[in-house]
């Protein structure tokens, strides 16, 4: 009986030691650097415009009939038209725009133009949700009428609160 208990004790101790050894071994294996999982985002306002004809805009290919948008910080086109700092993007960058009005719709758009967001009427204005004033802020993205309708459902609000993920 005593011999059996001693055997079990030895087995458990060995199991624990080898378990610990295994864990230490795994933690010390050099691992490949994990890709960053963070998403940058900026809160502000989105408006709409319809000046794109498929061959114009800062990137030369902005199209009213596509999910295109204008962003105020595109260094490759010399565009620095933001009210407060926004992330730098390039032509063709894909961003996700989330409407902060009730309903919280979300849609992806591609950047194909420079937003004159810091121009007259762009900074420190008021956004609307279904005709009611929502908040005060800066325009950070201009959507084609097509993209604005897809995201928000009407153009009459004109300026809506959004979060842009990029």
């Amino acid at each position: 009986m005593k011999k059996k208990a001693g055997f079990i004790f030895e087995a458990v101790v060995l199991l624990c030691l080898s378990f610990t050894l295994g864990a230490i071994f795994w933690w010390n294996i050099p691992k490949a650097e994990a890709a960053p999982h963070t998403v940058s985002y900026k809160k502000g306002h989105a408006t709409w415009y319809n000046l794109c004809n498929g061959h114009n805009g800062a990137c030369g290919d902005c199209d009213n009939n596509k999910m295109h948008a204008a962003w105020p910080h595109l260094p490759q086109t010399g565009c620095y038209r933001y009210c407060s700092d926004v992330g730098s993007l390039s032509c063709g960058s894909r961003v996700t725009v989330s409407d902060r009005c009730p309903g919280r719709f979300t849609a992806p758009v591609e950047i194909h133009d420079c937003c004159t967001c810091n121009g007259p009427g762009g900074c420190n204005g008021q956004s609307r949700c279904d005709g009611s004033i929502y908040n005060t802020g800066d325009v950070i993205i201009d959507l084609t009428s097509y993209a604005f309708l897809h995201l928000h459902g009407n153009l009459g609000d004109g300026r809506i609160p959004v979060t842009v993920y990029y």
Binding site: S18, N65, P120, L149, L155
Partner: protein, 210 residues
């Protein structure tokens, strides 16, 4: 193999298996623990795609023919498209459902249910001759119905004549007030955003001033 050798092999095999099981168990547990997100709540989460209006329902264009209960429009992608308009169709032309007639030459943005080949739409909503201008005020003139502004649009630098009428909604401290019941202190150089109805002469009746 004699009995003593057999016992020796059995005993050592047992301890060997025990060590291997322990090491593998340790690796698996460490791996599982490392896989748990430790600070996911701090990171911004990308919301799922969830648009308000499906892309295939959206249509815009210029009205080229007006018939009873339907209009024919020219769309830059689809060409000629027939839009069926019912009493349930929401129509904005300066305001919602104000019964202003739809006319040849009007432009619109809207959505509805398309047929299979996208040549006919049962319209749910249309916004007609709507414009969104952001720019600087060049001049302000008082007129009998309100104010007339010359506005230089920010993108193209194009100049627009904008009529502020008694019904124009003006943003005043977190609420909107018709121009008839408030003051609008605009002067040259001020920046404004305007949602309005474009008239045939190219001028714009402001429905909202931001």
């Amino acid at each position: 193999m004699n009995k003593m050798n057999k016992d020796y092999v059995k005993t050592h095999a047992f301890w060997g298996v025990l060590v291997v099981v322990g090491i593998v168990g340790g690796i698996l547990v460490a791996q599982a623990y490392a896989g748990f997100p430790s600070h996911a709540a701090d990171e911004p989460q990308l919301p799922p795609i969830n648009p308000c209006v499906p892309l295939e329902k959206i249509i815009d264009g210029t009205i080229i023919e007006v018939k009873e209960n339907c209009v024919v429009v020219n769309n830059s992608v689809r060409g000629l498209v027939t839009l069926h308009i019912s009493p349930e169709t929401r129509i904005w032309k300066g305001k919602w459902d104000n019964n202003l007639p739809i006319e040849v030459g009007d432009f619109f943005y809207g959505y509805g249910e398309p047929n299979e080949d996208g040549t006919v739409y049962e319209m749910e909503q249309m916004e007609i001759n709507i414009v969104n201008l952001r720019g600087a005020v060049v001049s302000v003139e008082k007129v009998s119905e309100g104010l007339d502004l010359q506005l230089e649009e920010a993108y193209e630098g194009k100049s627009y004549l904008v009529h502020i009428t008694s019904e124009t909604l003006v943003s005043k401290e977190e609420q909107e007030v018709p121009f008839a019941r408030t003051q609008l202190d605009l002067k040259a150089g001020d920046g404004v955003q305007i949602i309005g109805l474009k008239l045939k002469d190219g001028s714009v009746v402001a429905t909202r001033v931001f």
